[in-house]
């Protein structure tokens, strides 16, 4: 997801991953995590430029982000929706596969019946022809 060039980057990514742990994946969650990580890293860099050491800057950045629980809830809802969608789509896929199989069987049955009737009537007309010939003789 994000280039992990040093331990600080990894720490920030791990913090954000942990924040959204156990939440169903969605494009929006992936994007939000990247957005948060990028901005947090920039904030840490700003704090360090003001003279804080890395550890202190990291802690300050987490505190000053504020309460992210609202966003976490949003993402959890989104993740659940995607999970429901997946279940729904696999069910829909199964139903349509069954439909295709049933359709093909009906078509095959139709062709078979048509052929059978065709040959039966041909046989019948042949028989009639033979009867006619017999009568003529």
């Amino acid at each position: 997801m994000i280039e992990t060039k040093n331990s600080l980057d990894r720490k920030v990514n791990a913090y954000i991953d942990n924040l959204f742990a156990g939440i169903g994946a969605s494009q929006q969650l992936f994007d939000l995590k990247e957005e948060l990580a990028t901005n947090m890293k920039e904030r840490i860099a700003d704090f360090m430029a003001r003279g804080m050491d890395e550890e202190q800057a990291y802690k300050e950045a987490i505190i000053s982000m504020g309460d992210l629980s609202g966003l976490v809830d949003d993402m959890r809802k989104l993740g659940q929706d995607t999970a429901k969608q997946t279940v729904y789509s696999t069910m829909a896929a199964r139903i349509s596969t069954a439909g295709i199989i049933a359709g093909v069987l009906i078509i095959l049955f139709g062709i078979f019946t048509a052929l059978m009737l065709f040959f039966m009537s041909e046989n019948a007309s042949l028989m009639n022809g033979k009867k006619l010939l017999m009568q003529l003789h």
């Binding site: 994000i2 280039e3 980057d9 994007d31 939000l32 990247e34 957005e35 948060l36 990580a37 990028t38 901005n39 947090m40 890293k41 920039e42 904030r43 860099a45 000053s64 982000m65 504020g66 309460d67 992210l68 609202g70 966003l71 949003d74």
Partner: protein, 115 residues
Amino acid sequence: MDATISTDIIRGHTDTIILNVLRQGDSYGYEIYKKIIELSGKQYELKEATLYTAFRRLEREGCIVSYWGDETQGGRRKYYRITEDGRKLYEQNKNAWNFAKAVLDKLIQGGLEND
């Protein structure tokens, strides 16, 4: 930078404040956060967490759009741009604020004339 303005007062104006920043140019989360502090003359800080919630709402309502920057160091930035609808909403909210501000001032500081 103590929060001298109560959250109750600022809450209804978060979106308008963000739109005011974005109508002056595209920006991303942390930069918008810093610009808001600057706008307030260092009197007010809007938490980044509050900003992200507002971005999601404004984007859903079509007032802003987002796009990724092409930074390579430290991850990509997600930029926001105001839309025409966003500018309209900003103007509406600004007018509503000016009206409310005038009335509230009378309500809070005005004296009644005794006839």
